[in-house]
């Protein structure tokens, strides 16, 4: 077990990890570019972009500050709403959030919406480069003497811990892995953000005075009831569970790997991957499936095929992500399901069946089975849940794949326990986890201070 306050986790990342080979799709703006883009913003009244941001960043105001050269104040405006703003700027699906709501979308189409994410990235990078983030957050309140345990060091817990720490509470984060940041460190596609950025942001939060204990699996190394006894409150920010499987024959063969597990290898481990892989198959139709497929292509796998059991219109992956995958040369096989993995110890092919809808039910087409070669299969068929861990906290209810919470406060059935992020919303985005972490912190603060 490691107890950490401030430490450079970035230096623990292997320099030869596969993700470093990806080109950054979010290059930084120069000051001049940022100011010119900021000046395009209309400074809307009651701006719709802000309404579309889950953390309600005052976008019109921060952009105006960029336009006047007041960059650090812009960063302050952003941080006051969203402590994970550096990563959000890069990983948010802005097309369907702030930028999707920008009034420029209602113009004649001659000008794109304001590049809000890139402007946010510009302001945050400036604040980090000047080492100004902590001072922009202002002074911490006097210690309240209250202790809070936060489970998992992902965006939800980090946002929650930052807010609680600034309000004078003592926070301890328990994380099973060696590195903090959650999926921001080991999940997000490398062309959007590399692991060091997720770690930099986590280090900033830890630097506020949050204690991090890595290598601690709650439920195994620490008992929930002990946490409830020792701490004044507990925050569940453990995210989703391990990669799901299909229960198809042959799934135990080598070369078949869960998508999130595979992405973790790409992002944080220094192994040569996919040597000799000529064909890879990704099973699934969500954003994780798309990410894996694009990453495999980016790492040089010649043929990457996505297998999805329904049509393109049914895929939960964003349209812009599907386009991106197509652009990267990913092949799509819609209306197909795996029925069997074949190979001797190692997977060498996959038997697929065609599917169709019959009276609204999905069925395999009899006699449609065919083999496709593959040396690697990524299973992106959803992640499991951490129901057992969560419900081990007495009173916590778990339904429909997530902890049951009051959406305004993150409160659970146990008065001392709050939850936020993927574990509470069933799996959304970093920005939702951030918003929910902060919201829970405010509610916990009210509870702890009796305010």
């Amino acid at each position: 077990m490691h107890v950490t306050t401030t430490i450079s986790f970035q230096s623990q990342l292997p320099g030869d990890r596969p993700e470093v080979r990806f080109k950054d799709h979010h290059p930084s703006l120069t000051e001049r570019e940022a100011v010119l883009e900021a000046r395009r913003c209309l400074y809307c009244f009651d701006a719709p972009c802000q309404q579309a941001c889950p953390t309600s960043i005052d976008i019109a105001s921060f952009i105006r500050k960029i336009s006047t050269g007041n960059t650090l104040a812009a960063a302050r405006t952003i941080l006051s709403a969203n402590i994970n703003a550096l990563s959000c700027a890069r990983v948010c699906p802005t097309q369907v959030l702030c930028e999707g709501a920008c009034v420029y979308n209602h113009r004649d189409g001659s000008q794109p919406p304001i590049h809000i994410g890139r402007l946010q990235q510009f302001a945050m990078e400036a604040a980090y480069a000047k080492n100004a983030v902590a001072s922009l957050l202002g002074d911490k309140r006097a210690s309240t003497g209250k202790k809070i345990a936060l489970l998992g060091a992902g965006p939800a817990s980090l946002a929650c811990a930052a807010e609680l720490t600034l309000r004078g509470h003592q926070c301890v984060i328990l994380e099973q892995r060696a590195l903090p940041g959650g999926l921001n460190t080991n999940g997000v596609a490398p062309y959007k953000m590399k692991a060091d950025v997720g770690l930099l942001e986590a280090e900033m939060v830890l630097g506020l005075g949050v204690e991090l204990r890595t290598g601690v699996t709650v439920g195994k190394d620490v008992k929930p009831e002990d946490l409830l006894a020792e701490y004044d409150a507990v925050f569940l920010g453990v995210g989703l569970g391990p990669d799901g499987r299909l229960a198809v024959p042959g799934e135990e063969l080598a070369g078949i790997i869960g998508a999130v597990e595979l992405i973790d290898q790409v992002k944080t481990r220094g192994q040569p991957l996919f040597e000799g892989v000529a064909h890879a198959v990704v099973v699934g139709g969500g954003n994780t499936a798309i990410d894996v497929a694009r990453e495999l292509r980016g790492l040089g796998v010649p043929e990457v095929t996505m297998v999805y059991r329904r049509g393109p219109e049914h895929m939960s992956a964003y349209a812009h992500e599907q386009d991106g995958a197509r652009h990267d040369g990913v092949r799509f096989l819609h209306w197909h399901v795996p029925v069997r993995f074949n190979g001797e110890g190692k997977v060498s092919s996959l038997t697929l069946a065609r599917t169709r809808l019959e009276d609204g039910r999905l069925r395999n087409v009899p006699g449609s089975e065919a083999d496709v070669p593959c040396e690697l299969v990524a299973m992106a068929v959803g992640q499991g849940t951490l129901k057992d861990l969560c419900t081990a906290f007495a009173g916590v209810d778990f339904r429909d794949g997530h902890v049951v919470v009051d959406p305004d406060t993150g409160a659970t059935g146990n008065a001392k326990v709050f939850a936020g992020g993927d574990v509470a919303n069933g799996g959304k985005e970093v920005v939702n986890a951030t918003a929910e972490g902060k919201r829970a912190a405010l509610a916990m603060d009210r509870m702890l201070t009796g305010a």
Binding site: L36, C44, F45
Partner: protein, 451 residues
């Protein structure tokens, strides 16, 4: 073909576009290249006793991403020997006999004026311009704007020059006075042949906030400069129009100040200028801008059914009147086109905070909102109907503000609702009711009490 040639007090040029007396008209090489590009005339950089300049000597005002909206300089008159300038002017006139070459002059004593006028006219130049406008450096030595600000001195010196000159004499006026008609009338009394205006405006263009020295920085100090460029155009046009209208002036005018394109030129001409002079725009973009000016003015004149540039001169002067002559019965009301509106709501906040709070939103669930939704139903990319505001017609004061801030062309129109009311000016009304107080009492109220 439209005839662009002009005749200003006997000075003829193939078109109304002249270089102002400034750096672009500093040398024979420049003036000849300008003529090759299409400029019709040039007022040579002011001649006088040789001076030396400081560095740096220019500053600029950038606004909202636009460079050099305003420009400022602390340079003096020509720093080249008089003989060199005179030799080059002779050369230019010989090579370009049909272009207008006017020599700008600034000296002190009667004898100096006699001498420099003789030597200048020996070059074959078409006219003289008396620089009574320079507001920096030279005025500290009793010349430039020091003369332009003293009508009696201006009249006396202009009188001398008229004694000595054989070619037309233009008096270049300074805007650094309270009423430009006073120096204009003084020039007219001294029998000047024409007026040029404006010279630059006394100004500080900015402050270096690190050094705590105004711009342009000369070591550890700066001084007031002369302001020009696009930002001064409204001030210059007002002065031109005032002089064009003044019965005691009645002199042809060469308009100067912020002219950058054919439209600026057309506006100055409509307000009474026969030729226009340009400095800043050429310093910014070079001589080539005249191509747009020539084409633009020709097409404009043709479009308006005018056969010559001279027909345009003074066209808008009769419509420039005193406030008391304006029609009190004229009424316009703002209207928002819901098929163009993008829902930025800038008009709402502008009218609320900066005018009369007449732009509102349809209430949720109201019949009006339903009707609005109906109206925009077929519009692709429409904003939410609830974000499209409407103008309360009984509240609108017709001030124009909303239509000025709206970012979408043609979205807010100011509709004429005068109906068949007869023209009645304020002066008419005062005459009708006997006093200003009675006139107010008998006027319809423009504003609504909202409390």
């Amino acid at each position: 073909m439209v005839d662009l040639s002009i005749n200003l007090a006997g000075i003829k040029s193939p078109n109304p576009f002249w270089l102002a007396s400034a750096p672009p008209a500093n040398t024979g090489d420049q003036v000849m290249r300008a003529f090759d590009h299409g400029w019709g005339g040039a007022v040579w950089k002011t001649l006088g006793d040789q001076i030396v300049n400081v560095t740096s000597r220019f500053g600029a005002l950038d606004v909202g991403g636009s460079k050099v909206v305003g420009f400022n300089n602390i340079e003096l008159i020509t720093d080249r020997p008089l003989e060199v300038n005179l030799r080059e002017i002779t050369e230019v006139k010989k090579r370009y006999p049909h272009h207008a070459v006017v020599v700008s002059l600034m000296v002190e004593t009667r004898d100096e004026w006699r001498d420099i006028i003789k030597r200048s006219e020996d070059t074959g130049c078409d006219g003289l311009e008396l620089n009574f406008g320079c507001p920096h450096g030279m005025c500290e030595r009793g010349m430039g704007s020091a003369v332009g600000q003293e009508p009696r001195v201006l009249e006396e010196i202009t009188g001398w020059t008229k004694e000595f000159a054989r070619t037309p004499v233009l008096v270049k006026l300074t805007p650094n006075i309270t009423d430009v008609r006073v120096p204009g009338r003084a020039a007219a009394r001294a029998k000047a042949d024409g007026l040029s205006l404006i010279n630059t405006i006394k100004s500080i263009i900015g402050v270096d906030l690190d050094k705590m020295v105004p711009y342009p920085v000369v070591g550890t100090k700066s001084t007031n400069g002369g302001y020009c460029g696009p930002a001064v155009k409204p001030i210059a046009m007002h002065m031109v129009a005032q002089l064009a209208q003044d019965a005691q002036v009645r002199l042809p005018i060469s308009g100067i100040g912020g002219i950058s394109n054919w439209r600026d030129a057309a506006e100055f001409m409509a307000l009474g200028a026969t030729s226009v002079q340009v400095c800043t725009a050429v310093m910014h973009y070079g001589f080539r801008i005249v191509e747009d000016m020539i084409d633009g003015l020709s097409l404009f004149l043709k479009d308006k059914g005018m056969n010559s540039a001279m027909e345009l001169v003074g066209r808008a002067v009769p419509a420039f009147s005193e406030w008391g002559q304006l029609d009190m019965n004229h009424k316009v009301i703002a209207h928002i086109d819901e098929l163009r509106c993008i829902g930025c709501d800038l008009c709402h906040v502008a009218c609320r905070d900066g005018s009369h709070d007449c732009i509102h939103f349809h209430k949720e669930g109201s019949a009006a909102l339903v009707a609005q939704e109906e109206k925009i139903r077929a519009r692709v990319g429409a904003p939410p109907a609830a974000r499209i505001p409407y103008v309360a017609e009984d509240e609108c004061t017709g001030c124009n503000l909303c239509s000025l801030v709206c970012p979408v062309d043609g979205c807010i129109t100011m509709n004429d609702v005068t109906k068949n009311k007869e023209f009645q000016s304020w002066n008419d009304r005062v005459a009708q009711y006997g006093s200003a107080k009675a006139a107010v009492e008998n006027s319809p109220r423009m504003w609504k009490d909202k409390h």
